[in-house]
Symmetry: C2
Subunit: 218 residues, 2 copies
């Protein structure tokens, strides 16, 4: 049964994006601080950085990182996460992940200006679709080959799917820093916990892993 | 050495107050949901409800509840936490805690309309002062007899003390529910974690206890 999943890193004050980017530091210092534990895992190093040396942490944070990549058959993301807000004018733009992105499945990018699909190395194919959350999800499920569908981000896209009641599994990794600015994941989600089992696990890194999980609606 | 301490219950989306009060339910349902784990501890039952039967939980949440009451020599709170916003016109108003409040120390209530002090049973004395955070803290330290000073709340008052750099120990108990409305603890506190050791502990109840602690500044 296909499950719809979300995993995000957020700050203690609920921000899932950072706002301190500069021309010299295009991701900003805050992004590094927000994702330190995840980026330090062995799974991230292998899967995203193609580092097969075995370096990286293997504790609680790595267990969540492994689950992040398990059994995903298709991905959906917003235009912003793919970089279309900055690079939409460039017809050659292929996202932030170089030639071999870590997804290895069909990825549906929600945009009001669709463009031709792009096939990348390693199994990732980017499709650009103008669609509601429900429509995009139906298309993703159709090609997921029985695997799960992940809503990758950013937080505004995730919130649309949460508000539409489409998400079965939500995992947030909370880093105990206060960013004070950016896009909040939790806005306008009063009562989201109803209908979910919520579990909490603290990692030695200081990260709090909170999981909302519900029975699949079939 | 006197330490300045804060303990608050907040929701996952950062709200430290609730907004669903009705005439029939003056605390609202959300307040109960936000404080279930704390109110269920043996320490709360003994100290606040005067229940000496030994009922209540004795795990992680109770350890934090015990620490809440340990070694406090004076307390500071905002006018709202004392109830002056609703009951300020009543010269006989003595707060929400009946005849024998759980503080048992001098309590300074910050208000623009001071009134005479009130001595309660059990050692609590309410003083009403118009003072800056620094001035109120100096007065509290002077009478704390070497004990700590707690900034009791509400969240706006706590944030004033945090922003002024006056707090040595901040403990928040995060309940995994989304309230979507109220007063946020974390607003305008970007970078607060600098200068603190931050630790995280997940309780079996689902509460996440996060502690910011720094060396006393003397």
């Amino acid at each position: 049964m296909t499950r719809v999943r979300v995993d995000l890193n957020i700050s203690l004050d609920g921000f899932a994006t950072t706002a301190d980017q500069t021309p010299d530091n295009p991701f900003g210092q805050d992004w590094g601080r927000l994702t330190t534990a995840y980026v330090g895992t062995r799974t991230f190093r292998e899967r995203v950085l193609h580092d097969t040396s075995g370096a990286g942490t293997t504790g609680v944070d790595d267990e969540y990182a492994q689950r992040y990549f398990e059994a995903v058959g298709a991905e959906i993301m917003g235009a912003g996460m793919f970089g279309l807000h900055e690079h939409g004018d460039d017809p050659e733009w292929k996202g932030w992940w170089e030639d071999e992105p870590p997804f290895r499945v069909p990825v549906f990018i929600l945009t009001h200006t669709p463009r031709p699909s792009i096939e990348m190395k390693g199994g990732t194919v980017f499709h650009f679709v103008e669609a509601s959350p429900e429509e995009a999800l139906a298309r993703a499920v159709a090609v997921a080959d029985g695997g799960d569908v992940r809503i990758g981000g950013g937080p505004s896209t995730v919130r649309e799917f949460l508000r539409a009641g489409l998400v079965d599994d939500l995992h947030v990794a909370i880093t105990p820093i206060l960013l004070g600015q950016g896009i909040r994941l939790w806005d306008d989600l009063r009562g989201l916990e109803a209908g979910y089992d919520v579990t909490t696990e603290a990692a030695p890194s200081g990260i709090t892993h909170i999981t909302f999980r519900r029975e699949s609606r079939g």
